[in-house]
């Protein structure tokens, strides 16, 4: 009867996000669902965060910016949801430490693609894309491209995270 299930990563991330954000009390309170977040969701998210920039560039070359931006924004959204909704004194602090570290690193421009050693643009070079990425953006004719989406997500996340941290 069945010909097998084929599901893209973007769709899979959407489904997990739907479940975790829509029924967060289940994942915060009920032990088997808590275990799913700790043992399945966090370990799956870390490799995606590690390879976020590389995957973005690969996908933008292969399938275009919408596809790359769709995946990157969903990964960041998922990480943000986990950090904002599940940072309570619990047994998942190690996982969240790793996710925070990865978020901090991954939301910086990818220096490995930089041919010119001098950073382009802004004062600290943290928001403005490097020259290689900029050339990709201009070639794909995307003035407000996917990387900006990711950076905006990151910026919003940090503001929310800091305000949450101050409240605690």
């Amino acid at each position: 009867m069945s010909t097998g299930v084929t599901l893209s990563v973007t769709h899979a991330l959407d489904l997990v996000y739907d479940a975790i954000s829509g029924w967060k009390e289940l994942f915060q309170v009920i032990q088997p669902f808590k275990a799913i977040v700790k043992d399945y969701v966090c370990p799956a998210l870390c490799p995606l965060l590690k390879g976020l920039q590389a995957d973005f560039l690969t996908l933008s070359f292969k399938n275009g910016l919408p596809s790359a931006a769709a995946l990157s924004s969903r990964v960041v959204r998922m990480a943000r949801t986990l950090l904002l909704d599940f940072v309570t004194p619990n047994d998942m602090l190690e996982e969240f430490d790793l996710i925070v570290t990865l978020m901090v690193h991954v939301l910086q421009p990818d220096r490995s693609w930089q041919t010119d050693p001098t950073p382009t643009g802004g004062l600290d070079g943290s928001i403005v894309t490097n020259s290689a990425t900029s050339s990709i953006m201009s070639r794909l004719n995307a003035p407000m491209g996917g990387e900006h989406v990711v950076l905006w997500h990151g910026l919003i996340f940090f503001i929310q995270f800091l305000s949450c941290w101050n409240c605690q």
Binding site: S2, V5, H11, A19
Partner: protein, 177 residues
Amino acid sequence: MALNGMQLLLNYEIIPPADAKNILRVLGIQAATGRPDSQLKLLQILLQLANSLKTSPQYLTEPTVCTFLQLSLQLCDGRNSVSVSSTAFATARQILALVMDGVRDIFATDMLSIKGDSENSTLHLDRPRPDEATQSLSLSAQLFIKDVILFIRGFAGEWLRGESVRFTGQIGLCKLC
């Protein structure tokens, strides 16, 4: 025409919930035909059937939920037209919502009491639940999420049998989502 007839029967709630398995088997055969109009009709019936079983959760067993999700996710891949794929994905989301709502209803009173007791308490599923249907619904939700995580990691699903495709394009779908 046969699918329209089936939809009418579901509308009038004539079909007994015990026949859900047979209907799912027929829908599975129809899903393989590859005709977009039949597939769209099939997805409508699938959602109607799932909603009709909401009132009788004893029929929402783990294999039944698995078949529901398998059928909808099977139609979400790039082999079908964009309209079928996006409808199938929306159907999968609806079925997931239905299952998760069921699980939340089961544990609603427990969660309230735990939140009242202490912030750090957790509820263990080890103690016996009122009936098997509730256990089955909760198990289905857990198995589904575990399988979706396996898809994200590039592995094949264990509960939803099949293979995953890592970083497939599906630009049209991404735009729709």
